[in-house]
Amino acid sequence: MSLESRIKIAKRVAQELSDGDTVNLGVGIPTLIPDYLGDKKVELQSENGILGMGPTPDEENVNMDLISASKHPVTLDVGASIFDSSDSFVMIRGGHIDVAVLGVLQIDQYGEIANWAIPGKDILGVGGAMDLVAGAKRIIVASMHQAKDGKPKLVEKLTFPTSGNGRADMLITEHAVFKFTENGAELVEQLSDLSLEELQEITGAPFTYQDSVVNR
């Protein structure tokens, strides 16, 4: 999982965010996004009780009671607020987060997400994943195109446990951007020089596309 690819994905996700959006960033690639927002000001929400999460503090300003959901020390942006876990999930589950950017283990052709458990392995952590899937207004999945074992993340049908009935709106990988509708996945942008056939080969689900977006 090259840093270069991860940064490419983070940059492309950043383009999807608008000034003033309230955004919850999952662990992994999503945490890279704040570095690529340029002049855009988004409001970062953290499920442990922050709206307006700022960057990592200097070592001398660390307070381990001011941390992100990834448990790293953070700061507060001007205009930030603090609340408890129940109020934080009012915000998340009540549809007040404009965009959740999540990683996935798998995602199906309609945008259904599997991002918390691997079959046959211990299933001992879920955190706020299912709450975000159920509650965010818009879900962007930021993920490498393939898992470490080479298997495609985008699949016809999930073989990993689902994270719920909520659907992703978009999948951004190092190779492509897909949008999801009731009719399935649509390739809307290629981000690498793979040919259409090469892309299809490493993708586990059918997808539609307009001719204009395909590498020639």
Binding site: D65, L66, L124, G125, M130
Partner: protein, 229 residues
């Protein structure tokens, strides 16, 4: 009428088989002193409700070496290898609950609400055995309230009445847990006179707090360390 007690009195307030609600997210807002004390008490068959079981050998993680735990209810245990091991060996039951559902179930426990319908986890393995119901064409599942026999929470400051304020994200589950325990014990860094906390500033009103215990740790460089002698 003072609510301040010594940590050693914890032994009389917790019984074998109790359900404990323990505040904290990661190691933030964690009642380290109360957990240290609990680890020495030789209690049995406790159920701990907490977002996570601390980390390996830290926070609630230390209880995994004491044999006092029967069950853990929370949202994230993967990051504490000891918890995973104890579960694998069959020594620890685990009930996995989405984080938002966990917070809301505890709030309901404190609010006299028996249960609520959420979309979170509907259609997933975590909904197995739970009642489903359609509202406006969408599937919701019924989640039940959680109450505790004893809540062990962590605040930054209390006044002598027991009103509490928290340090930033140290608030997390602590406030709802204060509402949902039959007996509520708050560990605090400082106790101030009544009136020093403004009516607007108080997060947890004193009615929810039974006892106060002074924190045995001090914060240096943003991290709690054992108080020097």
């Amino acid at each position: 009428m003072s609510k301040v007690i010594k940590r050693s009195e914890l032994s009389n307030l917790i019984n074998d088989g109790d359900t404990l609600l323990v505040g904290g997210f990661g190691l933030s807002g964690t009642p380290f002193t109360l957990i240290d004390e609990l680890a020495t008490l030789g209690k049995k068959d406790l159920t701990v409700v907490s977002n996570n079981l601390g980390e390996k050998d830290k926070g609630l993680g230390i209880l995994l070496h004491t044999g006092c735990l029967k069950k853990a209810v929370g949202s994230y245990f993967t990051s504490n290898r000891d918890a995973v091991n104890e579960w694998s060996k069959g020594n620890l039951e685990i009930e996995l609950v989405p984080q938002g559902t966990l917070a809301e179930r505890i709030r309901c426990g404190g609010a006299g609400i028996a249960g609520f319908y959420t979309k979170t986890a509907a259609g997933t393995k975590l909904a197995e055995g739970k009642e489903e119901k359609e509202f406006d064409g969408e599937t919701y599942i019924l989640e039940r309230a959680i109450k505790g026999d004893v809540s062990l929470i962590k605040a930054l400051k209390a006044d002598t009445k027991g009103n509490l304020v928290y340090d930033y994200t140290g608030r997390n589950f602590n406030h709802v847990m204060a509402t949902a325990g039959k007996t509520v014990i708050a560990e605090v860094d400082e106790i101030v006179e009544v009136g020093e906390l403004s009516p607007y500033e108080i997060v947890t009103p004193h009615v929810y707090v039974d006892y106060l215990v002074m924190n045995n740790y001090v914060k240096i460089g943003g991290r709690y360390v054992v108080a020097g002698e």
